[in-house]
Symmetry: C2
Subunit: 365 residues, 2 copies
């Protein structure tokens, strides 16, 4: 269903910024606005929201019936495969008086389609990635409750998966079992996430799945699911066999960084200070250059959304915000360790770490 | 491994077109060029190929180790989460003398990242979606052989799945079984594709999965897998219970259109004529407006790539080309029927329909 309250909020923000309209291609953003997000292929499609709160959808005939359903009587402008989509976009833009104006684009519109539009239609493109993320940066009590439920599921999965892991299994085996367990415990969108063994974990976004767990191994698992559309996201790194002294030392550095980040994440805290608190632990231990990414990202209807927790995100935490705290230490061709929880500032302004499952070093013997 | 032959071919084409460089974000394109394609999130990352054949990769530190591996000693420019990626892109573009020049972008670069680049760097953006697709429009004998193998797998899956389908199963059940069977027969990238029951199939890109197959049902299945990176793609529509006279009539129209398209798809044929041959059958039967999409798309390292088979794609078929022939008939809130095969023009210039499993109307009783 179209979220009329949100459309109004968004159109007021557009007007305030002097932006005449926003294109929203299929994404968590679109899901949030109209309650549905069609499959996105190479063909251009997007919702158009004007600063007057008008709505229309532009898509290929392929998606026309689907769009008519979720657009609830608002216009759908369809183009056919043998015509140029830009002609149809132009007709819609003329209809709403958008020619020559500032037009924003959300995060999922493709560059080549924007270029085709710029070649044939007169307008000034603006980065609109953050518009919808910012309208949902403060979660409602119901959304916070769904975040708690989603986190509870991945906690339960963790308790089970550490009994499942053993030498001889592949990363894929563990990933499939995580996906299965997430579903069993009631989660949606259970992909199994990232499972990275030993040096594979040195790549924070490793997406392979064929390595085998040896008699002595480091197993990093980063996974999540959704409840009511809200995501969970957890990372735990466990050891198969006895951890070496060096592994224990590295693990403890990451754990202390995780705890320092969570301790700094209080209501009103300045986001760069939170990143800095965790980063200091790793830097002081001599591994600063091996903490390759930001401390965390907001979470909600998208797995990654505002607020982003790093040194150049200038914002103070407020009740209703939800984000990950996930320091990591990555040494190429050697090892990767990450520990991640989802944290919220709740309705009372208290910090709640939603993941309750242990972060103590686990050795699977 | 970096495909040096292709880099050379691409750089010559760029030079010929007066385009100084091409950005290639993670995609089938990138896989084809460097043998690997990292996970793409909201952070900008892309290979830069200049018209002199120089290569570098620009990415977040997160992907830095991974990029160093596949870039085989070519420069990797990494930016950190707390810095602006555009500063790093600018440094790389200055290094290769690309400021103020025409720069192309492949199909997977995101518009908001392009806008951020346009706001801070002087260059002229060009639609580069087709560059890599056109360099691989003629398949090698080995690639054609992998296309045949991939099609053989989905044919076998079809033989099995018609024994599996019965009333009471959900679309999801059928999809999971298709994915499982594709793997069993040796396919990679087995997602289960689209399974759409009854009126759900009126949306050609339906991606739901919860509807239940009734005692009398129409079940449309559109799925594929890869072998050696090459995709297969098949659609069959079957009936559960006895098909009605009207259903038989509609099915036969689509079947005749499929056969007419395949008959027209001979070496040297002009692409718009192929689309027209199939479309005429459906139009003559009075359902022209219900054939919502192009007749087909090329297929290879991507599920959809050049040549696109529709009335505005001005090209003649040549040996080595591979594409789908997939007419469909879609009536909102009622029914959808599509029949799809992959077709190649082989090394001898003969038309080969790669899918051999039956297209006769099937009733599962």
């Amino acid at each position: 269903m179209i979220n009329k309250e949100l459309v109004k909020k968004l159109s007021l923000q557009l007007k305030k910024d002097g932006v005449s309209a926003l294109f929203v291609a299929p994404s968590g953003d679109l899901q949030f606005l109209v309650g549905h997000s069609p499959h996105l292929c190479e063909r251009f499609q997007a919702l158009l929201v004007t600063d007057e709160g008008e709505l229309c959808y532009i898509c290929n005939a392929l998606t026309m019936y689907e769009a008519k359903d979720f657009m609830e009587g608002n216009p759908v402008y369809a183009w056919y495969d043998h015509t140029a989509f830009t002609d149809t976009v132009k007709i819609a833009m003329e209809k709403y008086g958008l020619i020559g104006k500032k037009i924003a684009f959300n995060g999922t519109v493709r560059a080549f389609n924007l270029i085709r539009m710029m070649n044939t239609i007169d307008f000034e493109p603006v980065n609109g990635k953050d518009y919808l993320e910012l309208t949902r940066i403060i979660k409602t009590p119901e959304e916070l409750e769904n975040l708690r439920k989603a986190s509870l599921i991945v906690d339960k999965v963790f308790e089970d998966i550490i009994k499942f892991i053993k030498p001889g299994l592949t990363e894929r085996d563990v990933k499939n079992e995580i996906a299965r367990l997430c579903k069993v415990y009631g989660g949606d969108n259970c992909t199994g996430g990232i499972v990275a063994v030993d040096a594979n974990a040195a790549n924070p976004h490793y997406f392979g799945d064929s390595a085998v767990i040896g008699e002595h191994a480091v197993v990093e698992m980063d996974y999540g699911c959704t409840v009511g559309g809200m995501y969970s996201d957890i990372t735990r790194t466990v050891f198969v066999g006895k951890a070496t002294e060096r592994e224990k030392e590295l693990y403890n550095i990451v754990l202390q960084a995780n705890l320092a980040g969570e301790a700094a994440a209080v209501n009103g805290a300045y986001v760069p200070d939170i990143d800095a608190a965790a980063r200091k632990v790793i830097t002081d231990a001599g591994y600063g250059p091996n903490f390759l990414h930001r401390l965390g990202h907001g979470i909600g209807y998208a797995g990654h959304e505002a607020p982003y927790i790093h040194g150049d995100y200038h914002l103070n935490l407020a009740p209703g915000m939800a984000f990950s705290c996930e320091p990591g230490l990555y040494i190429k061709d050697d090892i990767g360790i990450r520990i991640e929880d989802v944290v919220i500032i709740n309705e009372k302004g208290e910090t709640e770490v939603l993941n309750k499952c242990t972060k103590e070093l686990i050795e699977i013997l």
